[in-house]
Amino acid sequence: MAESLSRLLTDLGERSTYDAASQCSRCGYCEQACPTYVATGDESKSPRGRNQIVRLMLEGKLDDKASALEALSSCLTCGACTTACYAKVPVVDIVLEGRRMLRGKTHWLVKAVCRIMITSPRLFAVLLKTGFLLKRFGVSALGRPALRAAGLPVLAAMDAHTREAPFWNLDDLTKSRETPESPSYRYFGPCGPRYLFPRVGVATLSALDELLGKGAYLNNPCCGLLAHNYGDLSDARELARKNIEHAEKNGTERIIGDCSSCVAFLKSYPQLFLKPEDAEWRARAEAFSKRVRDVIEVYGECADKLPAGAAEGVETTYHDSCRAVNPQSLKTQPRRAAQQAAGGSFCEMAGADACCGGAGAFAFVHEELSEDLLKTKIGRAAAVQAGVVLTSATSCLIQLARGFRKYYPDAKVLHLSEFVDEALRKNNGT
C-alpha cells in the first residue's frame, strides 16, 4: 500500500478521508455529471459508487482489491461530480486515496520519471529529444510492439496518440529572453507547454507580456502532479517543496501557468502538508498557492483589453478543461476572453464542460472508454460546425488534436493562449 494523505482539505473544512467520503449522502445527484457513468450506466463507474467503494474499504467491508481497483482506475478525475454535489464531496481526492491504498509499489517507470524530474530535469529534456528523434524517423512506431511486449502498453499508446514531439523545447526557444528588473508576472512552465507544445508557452509569454507588461520565466521544477496521481506522495511533496522554495526566491508577483491541470495542482499544494509536523510547509504552501493563477483567469480579467473581434472568421467554441472548470471554477473567465476576440464567430457547444477523455494517462490506459468520450465531444463540436476549439490543458490538447484528425479534420484545437496571442498580433499588424 502506497502512502496516503489520510486528511483532505474539503469545501466544508479539513477532514479525514473517511469523514470526507462519509459526507456523501448517496443522493445520486452527481451521477449525470460523471462522464464514465453516463457512458456506461454502471454504478461502479459513478462518483457515488467510487466514493462508497473507498468508504467500504476504509470500513474494512470491501477487501476485493481487483474489483475495487477496476472501479477506481476508471475515474477520469475530472471533478465534475464535486461541482454537482451539494456538499462538494471531494471525490477525486477520495478516489486517489483509494488508488493509493490499493497500489503496491509504484510502477518502476512512473517512479523513474518522477525521480528524473526531481533530480535532473535536464536529463528529462534530453530523453524527450531522443524520443523526438525516434518519432521523427519512425522508429518509435516500429518499437510499439516491443513496448507492449515489455509490459509498457501505456508508452506504446502514448506514442500512438501524440503527433507533435518538437525537438526544440520551450527552454531552448526562450533562451534569449531577458528577465526584466521588476517583472509584471512570473511564468510557470508546465511540462506540456514546455516540452510537448512549446508553441503554447511561447504564445502565453507573448500574450501576457502584451497584456500585463514584461514578465519573467520562472524556470520551475515539475509541479509533481504525475507523482501525486500515479506515484509516491513523497515525490510529490519533494517537488512541491522545490517549487515553493524556488518561487520564494523569485519575487512576490503572481505566478501564471498555462496548463490547467498543473495550475489546479499548484493551488492545492497546502493539502500535501496537513500533518502537524508539516505546519511550517503548510503555511508556505498556502502563501505560494495564493500567488498562483491559471492563465485563462488572467485573460478573463483582461478581456476588455483584447481587440474586439480580431480573430473573427472561423466558428470558434470553447472546451472546458476539467481541472479549470471544476476545482478552479473557471467557467466565465475564458469565455469572456474568447468571446471578445472571436466576436460573432464564438458559439457554445453542448456539454462544453464534459471531459474529453484525455485526463492524463486515462486516454492511454482506458482506451475504449476514452474513445467513447472523445467521439461525443467531437460530435458536439461538429454540431456547431466549429473550426477552432479552444481549451486550457495539455491532456485536452493531445486528446482533441487526435480526435479532430480522426473524426473531424475540419477543426483544430488551440490553447486559449494561442488564440489570444494571435488576436493581439493581428491587432498590432504583426
Binding site: 462519509s22 449522502s25 443522493c27 445520486g28 445527484y29 449525470q32 454504478e43 457515488r48 459508487g49 476485493d64
Partner: protein, 664 residues
C-alpha cells in the same frame, strides 16, 4: 445460483458479480443497504426479459433499478437476488410534437426528455427534485411528483401506456386505451413489485407563454396556509405553491443573503398560462396574500428575477446536505387544512427526540417534507432521527393524511402501512401482488408489512364515517348470500341493461345516495356511488363547486365502473369498496397526493363491477367549471385481458361478481 446460464443469454460483460459491483448496487438514496447476488446492466429489453424469465425459472428475486435515487429504500435488494439496472436503456424512441407524446426507454433521465421536448415547445410535467438524474422508469415506478404537480398532476397523470416485463418473464402492454380495469394505473407507483417497466409512452404539455412568481412572507404558518386555501378557493391554480419555514431560510442564508423577509413562513407561488390570465391571476394572488396578512409580497416576471425568488427554495436541500453527512427527507401528506396542525405536531416531535426539523412543503398539495440532518455513523443519533421520522408520519396518518406523497413506501415505511390500512385492505394488497407475482420475486418484501409481522402500532387512521344504512344493507346482503352465489351489480341500468340472471343475487346501488363529505376547504368530495349524475351536478353547482365528470345521466358508480372516458381517472382520490367476501376496503383518501400502496381506486375504473362494489368515491373538487366531454354511448362490456383476469382473482377468486362479464 447458476449465473453462467444467464451470462450466456445476455450481452457480454453485462452480468456482474464482483464484490465491488455488488457493493455499489446495495444502496439507493435512503438509509438501508443489502447486497444483491448479481447485477445485470441491461443493454436491451430482450436482456431484461431473459433475465426475468431466468429469475422466474430459478426462483430468484429481481429488483429493477433506474438511477437509484429512491428515498424510501425501494431499490435495496433486501433478499439478495438480481439487480436489473436500466440506466443504459436511455433512448428517447420517438417524440411526436403534434400528438404531444414521447415514447421512451425506462433509463431516460427526466431532464433529457425535458430538453428534447423544449425544442418543440413542449415540456414533461412531473418534476421531482431529482429530475436532473432520476429516470422516467423510476419516476413511473414511484409515481413521482414535484412542485409542478399541483397544477399538472403527478407521474400517473402523464403516462399513457407502458410495456412491462411481467414477473413470469412475458412482455405485456398496458394502455389508457385498453378496455376493462385500468391495469396501467396499477403498474404506475407499484415500485417494481409487479414487473419491470421497459417502455413508456408519456404525455407532453405545451410550454406556457408566461410565468410569474410571487413571494410572500407571513407571521405564522397558519396565516400562510390560510392564504393557500384562499388562493385555491378563488379558483386560481398555481403551477407551484411552495412553503418553507424560517429555520430552512436561515440554513440557506449561511454565508449569503437571499433578501427574503424574516417571517416565520414563506410562500412561493408560481403562475403560468397565457399572458392575460397570468397577469390577472398574479394581481389576484398578490391581493389574496395581502388580505391573508402577508407582511411582504414580491412579484417577478423576468426569468432572472424569478430565479432570485426561487433561490431560497432551490438551495434548501443543498444547504441541509452541508450541515451533516446525511439528511432524512421525510415525506408525509395531510389534508391541506391540517397543515398548521401537522407543523405543530412535527415541531413537538422534533423537540421530544432532540432533533431539528427543517420544513419544506408543497403547500398546495398538503405534502410536507420535514428534513433532519444527521450522521448515519452515529447510531444513537440515527435511531432518534428515525424515531422522529416515524412519529411524524404517524401524526400525518392521525390527521387523516398519508405516509407518502411522492417518495414511495419501499422498505422504510412498509410496516407503517398497517397504521393507514385496515387488515382487510392489506390482505387485498397482498392478494393483488400474489395474483401478478405468485412466486413473490419482483422486488420482494417492499411496500407492505411482511405477513406475520406485528406492526408497532395498530390501525390509527381516523375511522371513516360509518357506512350509510343502505350500504350496510348491501354488505349484509353479500355476507348472507349462499356460498358460491353469483352477484349482479347494478346501478340505474342506463349503460348495461341485461336482466339479472335468475340464480344471481342483485346488488342494486341506486340507494347509495349520500354525500358523505363536501369539504370546501380542501376541495374534496366524498359521495356514495348510487347518486344520479344529474342530481350530483345540481347539488354541487348550488354549492359553487364543480367536478370533472362527463355530461350525461345514470349513476356515478355506473360511470366509474364502465369508464366511458379515460379522463375520469384524473381526479379520483379514494374509494370504499365492498368485496364479494363481505370485506369493505378503504383505498386512498382525502389527500390529493398519495403514493401509499397500489393505486386500486384507479384500477377499479372500468372494472364493470367484476372486482367489487364501489360504495363511495372521493374526488377532487374545483372552484371553477372544468372541461369534460359529453359521455358518449355506453361502451359494450369488455373482454378482460389475461392480466385483468389474474388481478380480478385477487378481488374475487371465484368470479362471483358479474360473472357473465369477465369470462375468458
Amino acid at each position: 445460483m447458476r449465473l453462467d446460464e444467464l451470462r450466456a443469454q445476455v450481452a457480454p460483460g453485462s452480468l456482474r458479480s464482483s464484490p465491488a459491483d455488488l457493493a455499489v448496487y446495495s444502496y439507493d438514496g435512503a438509509f438501508d443497504r443489502a447486497r444483491p447476488d448479481a447485477v445485470l446492466i441491461a443493454s436491451s429489453v430482450e436482456d431484461v426479459r431473459r433475465a426475468v424469465a431466468w429469475c422466474a425459472a430459478n426462483k430468484i428475486p429481481f429488483i429493477a433499478r433506474g438511477a437509484g435515487t429512491n428515498l424510501s429504500g425501494g431499490c435495496v435488494p433486501v433478499n439478495g437476488g438480481l439487480v436489473i439496472a436500466l440506466a443504459r436503456l436511455n433512448r428517447i424512441l420517438s417524440l411526436d410534437a403534434a400528438g404531444r407524446v414521447a415514447c421512451v426507454e425506462p433509463g431516460v433521465v427526466n431532464l433529457d426528455l425535458q430538453k428534447e421536448a423544449e425544442k418543440v415547445g413542449l415540456f414533461y410535467a412531473p418534476d421531482p427534485a431529482s429530475f436532473r438524474v432520476s429516470t422516467l422508469g423510476g419516476n413511473a415506478a414511484e409515481n413521482a411528483g414535484g412542485p409542478r404537480c399541483l397544477k399538472y398532476g403527478v407521474t400517473t397523470n402523464h403516462v399513457l401506456a407502458v410495456e412491462a416485463v411481467m414477473p413470469d418473464g412475458t412482455l405485456a402492454k398496458f394502455s389508457l386505451e385498453d378496455d376493462g380495469p385500468e391495469l396501467l394505473s396499477l403498474m404506475i407507483g407499484a415500485e417494481g413489485t409487479l414487473g419491470v417497466l421497459v417502455k413508456l409512452w408519456v404525455r407532453l404539455t405545451p410550454l406556457p407563454v408566461d410565468t410569474r412568481t410571487v413571494l410572500a412572507g407571513f407571521s405564522s404558518i397558519d396565516a400562510a396556509v390560510a392564504c393557500v386555501s384562499a388562493i385555491i378557493a378563488a379558483g386560481v391554480l398555481p403551477r407551484a405553491l411552495e412553503a418553507m419555514d424560517r429555520p430552512t431560510v436561515e440554513s440557506v442564508e449561511v454565508g449569503r443573503s437571499l433578501g427574503y423577509p424574516k417571517d416565520p413562513a414563506i410562500l412561493l407561488i408560481e403562475l403560468d398560462g397565457d399572458s392575460a390570465d397570468c397577469a390577472r391571476e398574479a394581481v389576484q394572488v398578490e391581493r389574496l396574500c395581502a388580505e391573508a396578512g402577508a407582511t411582504t409580497v414580491r412579484a417577478a416576471t423576468d426569468p432572472a428575477e424569478r430565479e432570485r425568488l426561487w433561490e431560497g427554495r432551490r438551495g434548501a436541500y443543498a444547504a441541509l446536505a452541508r450541515l451533516a453527512p446525511n439528511v432524512l427527507v421525510e415525506d408525509g401528506v395531510v389534508p391541506r387544512d391540517k397543515l398548521p396542525d401537522i407543523v405543530r405536531r412535527i415541531q413537538e416531535i422534533a423537540a421530544k427526540h432532540g432533533v431539528k426539523a427543517y420544513l419544506l412543503f408543497h403547500a398546495g398539495d398538503g405534502n410536507i417534507h420535514p428534513n433532519i440532518a444527521y450522521d448515519e455513523r452515529d447510531a444513537a443519533e440515527t435511531s432518534r432521527v428515525k424515531a422522529a421520522g416515524h412519529d411524524m408520519l404517524q401524526a400525518c396518518v392521525e390527521l387523516g393524511g398519508s405516509l407518502s406523497g411522492e417518495h414511495g413506501i419501499g422498505l422504510d415505511k412498509r410496516d407503517a402501512m398497517a397504521w393507514l390500512f385496515t387488515p382487510e385492505t392489506l390482505r387485498l394488497f397482498h392478494r393483488v401482488k400474489n395474483a401478478v407475482d405468485p412466486a413473490g420475486l419482483a422486488n420482494p418484501d417492499k411496500i407492505f408489512p411482511l405477513p406475520g409481522t406485528k406492526p408497532g402500532l395498530p390501525f390509527i387512521r381516523p375511522p371513516a364515517e360509518a357506512l350509510s344504512e343502505y350500504a350496510k344493507l348491501l354488505v349484509d346482503k353479500v355476507r348472507a348470500a349462499p356460498a358460491g352465489a353469483a352477484f349482479r351489480v347494478r346501478g340505474a341500468s342506463t349503460r348495461w341493461k341485461d336482466a339479472t340472471p335468475e340464480d344471481a343475487v342483485e346488488l342494486l346501488t341506486t340507494g347509495l345516495g349520500r354525500i358523505a363529505d363536501l369539504d370546501k376547504r380542501n376541495f374534496t368530495l366524498t359521495v356514495e356511488t348510487g347518486v344520479s349524475l344529474h342530481a350530483l351536478r345540481r347539488e354541487l353547482e348550488s354549492q359553487g363547486v364543480f367536478v370533472r365528470l362527463p355530461q350525461g345521466g345514470g349513476t356515478l358508480g355506473g360511470l366509474l365502473a364502465t369508464r366511458p372516458w379515460a379522463g375520469l381517472r384524473e381526479d379520483i382520490l379514494g374509494m370504499r369498496v365492498l368485496l364479494c367476501n363481505g370485506d369493505v376496503v378503504e383505498l386512498g383518501g382525502k389527500v390529493v397526493k398519495n403514493v401509499a400502496g397500489y393505486d386500486l381506486p384507479r384500477l377499479l375504473l372500468g372494472s364493470w363491477g367484476a372486482f367489487g362494489v364501489i360504495l363511495e368515491v372521493t374526488m377532487k373538487l374545483h372552484a371553477r367549471p372544468v372541461e369534460a366531454p359529453a359521455a358518449g354511448p355506453a361502451p359494450a362490456p369488455p373482454k378482460f385481458s389475461p392480466w385483468a383476469l389474474k388481478v380480478r382473482a385477487a378481488f374475487d377468486p371465484e368470479g362471483r361478481l358479474n360473472p357473465g362479464l369477465a369470462a375468458e
